[in-house]
C-alpha cells in the first residue's frame, strides 16, 4: 500500500564485479522510500518512468571486462520490478536511474 506521498515502496541495489571487486562489499542494499525527502522520491519516480523501468524488455546482461552488473529493484506505487543491468549502460535514462539508485542506497542504505 502507498500513502498520499507515494511512500510504502523501496529501492534495492546489488553491485557485482568491477575492477575493484571486493567480496566484503558485495551485499544487497535496500532503502524504504519513506526515508527519502519528497523531492527525491519524486525524482526517483520520474527517472523510473523516463527509463520505462517497469515496462522495458530486459536485455541480456553480458559481462564485459571489469564492468559491473547491477541488480536494481524498485517498488513504487504498487509497481515492483527487479532488473539486471550490465555496464556499459547505453540508454542514458536507464544509466541515470541506476546512478541515482546506487547513490541513494549507498548514502541511506541498510539491508
Amino acid at each position: 500500500m502507498t500513502d498520499e506521498a507515494g511512500c510504502g515502496g523501496e529501492a534495492r541495489m546489488r553491485v557485482d564485479g568491477g575492477f575493484a571487486h571486493l567480496p566484503g562489499r558485495a551485499s544487497d542494499s535496500c532503502v524504504p522510500l519513506e526515508r527519502l525527502p519528497g523531492d527525491e522520491r519524486a525524482e526517483l519516480t520520474r527517472l523510473a518512468d523516463a527509463a520505462g523501468f517497469f515496462d522495458c524488455a530486459p536485455e541480456p546482461a553480458v559481462a564485459r571486462p571489469d564492468a559491473r552488473t547491477y541488480t536494481i529493484g524498485l517498488t513504487i506505487d504498487g509497481r515492483s520490478r527487479d532488473l539486471q543491468v550490465a555496464e556499459p549502460i547505453r540508454d542514458p535514462a536507464l544509466a541515470a536511474l541506476v546512478s541515482t539508485v546506487r547513490r541513494i542506497t549507498r548514502e541511506r542504505g541498510g539491508v
Binding site: G17, F19, A63, R64, P65, A67
Partner: protein
C-alpha cells in the same frame, strides 16, 4: 599526388577542415586515419610549399621523410563525462599532442595511454590495441562516487572514486595498462569472461598492466613491487593495493573491505557465483605464476617473460575457453620455441606453473 603507395590515402585528398570533422565524428578506423593525417599534414604542406619543382640535397631528404609515416605513435582522445554516467563523455578535453590540462585525471589518462602504447610497441612491436593503430579513447570523471574503471569494448572509462575508500582510478598507471590489455585480449585469444578463462583474462591484464608500470619506472623484476592498484585506496583503508601478484591474498586486510580473497595456489581455488565466477579472485594463481617466472628469468620482466606471455596470448592454441592448465602448456611451448626447449626460460616457466599447482 595520391598515385603513390601511401599508408593513409585520405591525408592527401582531404583539406584539414574535413579531416578535423572526420577526426571528431568518424568511425574509429576513419578517425585514426584522419588524426594521423592531421599530425603529418602540416609538415608535408610546408615542405610541398617550399619545394615546387625538382629538388635535391637536404630539402629532398626532408620531403622524402615527410612523405613517410615511420614509427607508430598513439592517437589519444580524452573525454570528460563531468560526473554523469555517460561514456563517451560529451566533452573532448585533450587530443593527441595537446598540452597538459592541469586536470590530474585527464592528464594521467593521457599519459597512461601513452605508456601502455609504448610498452606494446617498444617491447612487442604491436601498434595499439588492434595492432593497426586503433585510436585510444578514454572517458574520465564518469558518474559520481564511482569506484571502478572498465573497458567497454571501444574505450576506457574511469571513475573518480568515492573519496572515502577509493581515490580516482587514473591514479594507478597499471590500472590503465590493465584496461587497455582487455582490448588486446578481446582481439587475440578472446578469453571468455567467466570462470577460469575469465580469471586468466584478468590475470593477463594484471600482467601487462604491471609491465606498463615497471617499464615506465625502469624497474626490473627484482625491483618491482608487483602490486596492482597501488594508490587507489585512501589512507582510511588498511591495505597497500587491490592485488599482489607476488603474494596474492595479502594486498589488504581492512575492517570495512575485509581481507584480500585472492588464492596463490590451485589448492585454494575459489568457487563462487559472484564476479563472473571469481575472475578477480582466482586471477591470483596465474598472476603469481608470472611473477615466479619473471623473477626466475631475471632482468626486465617485459623482455623475456613478457614476450613469452604476449606470444602465448597470440598463439592459436589459446582460445575463448582456455583454462589455466591450457595456457600454462602454451607458455612453456612458446618459451621453448623462443629460447630453446631446455632453456633456463622454458624451465623457469614450467616451474612457475608447477609451484602454483597448475599442471
Amino acid at each position: 599526388m595520391c598515385t603513390l603507395t601511401h599508408r593513409h590515402a585520405i591525408h592527401c585528398i582531404l583539406p584539414p577542415y574535413i579531416l578535423s570533422r572526420i577526426a571528431e565524428h568518424g568511425s574509429p578506423e576513419l578517425r585514426g586515419k584522419a588524426i594521423r593525417a592531421l599530425l603529418v599534414d602540416p609538415s608535408i604542406r610546408m615542405v610541398r610549399a617550399t619545394t615546387a619543382g625538382p629538388v635535391i640535397g637536404s630539402v629532398a631528404r626532408l620531403r622524402s621523410a615527410a612523405g613517410n609515416v615511420l614509427t607508430p605513435s598513439p592517437l589519444r582522445t580524452i573525454r570528460d563525462a563531468k560526473g554523469k554516467p555517460e561514456a563517451p563523455g560529451a566533452t573532448v578535453v585533450r587530443r593527441e599532442g595537446e598540452a597538459p590540462t592541469g586536470d590530474p585525471a585527464v592528464d594521467e589518462a593521457y599519459d597512461g595511454l601513452g605508456a601502455t602504447f609504448a610498452l606494446y610497441w617498444e617491447a612487442y612491436q604491436r601498434d595499439s590495441i588492434d595492432d593497426a593503430g586503433l585510436p585510444l579513447d578514454a572517458t574520465v570523471h564518469y558518474d559520481q562516487d564511482y569506484d571502478n574503471a572498465f573497458w567497454d569494448g571501444t574505450q576506457m572509462v574511469f571513475g573518480d572514486g568515492d573519496g572515502e575508500l577509493f581515490n580516482r582510478f587514473t591514479l594507478a598507471l597499471d590500472v590503465i595498462g590493465h584496461e587497455l590489455t582487455h582490448g588486446v585480449t578481446e582481439r587475440e585469444a578472446g578469453l571468455a569472461y567467466f570462470n577460469q578463462s575469465g580469471a586468466l583474462n584478468e590475470s593477463i591484464s594484471d600482467v601487462f598492466g604491471s609491465l606498463v608500470k615497471q617499464k615506465a619506472l625502469g624497474q626490473d623484476a627484482a625491483a618491482a613491487d608487483w602490486l596492482i592498484g597501488e594508490g587507489l585506496f585512501t589512507p582510511k583503508v588498511k591495505g597497500s593495493a587491490l592485488r599482489s601478484m607476488k603474494a596474492p591474498g595479502t594486498a589488504y586486510d581492512d575492517p570495512v573491505l575485509g581481507k584480500d580473497p585472492q588464492p596463490a595456489h590451485m589448492d585454494d581455488f575459489v568457487r563462487t557465483n559472484q564476479d563472473n565466477g571469481g575472475v578477480h579472485i582466482n586471477s591470483g594463481i596465474p598472476n603469481r605464476a608470472f611473477y615466479l617466472a619473471a623473477t626466475a628469468i631475471g632482468g626486465n620482466a617485459w623482455d623475456r617473460a613478457g614476450t613469452i606471455w604476449y606470444n602465448a596470448l597470440l598463439d592459436p592454441n589459446v582460445r575463448a575457453n582456455t583454462d589455466f592448465a591450457g595456457f600454462a602448456r602454451v607458455t612453456v611451448d612458446v618459451a621453448g620455441r623462443l629460447y630453446g626447449a631446455g632453456s633456463a626460460d622454458a624451465t623457469a616457466v614450467g616451474a612457475a606453473w608447477s609451484d602454483v599447482g597448475v599442471s
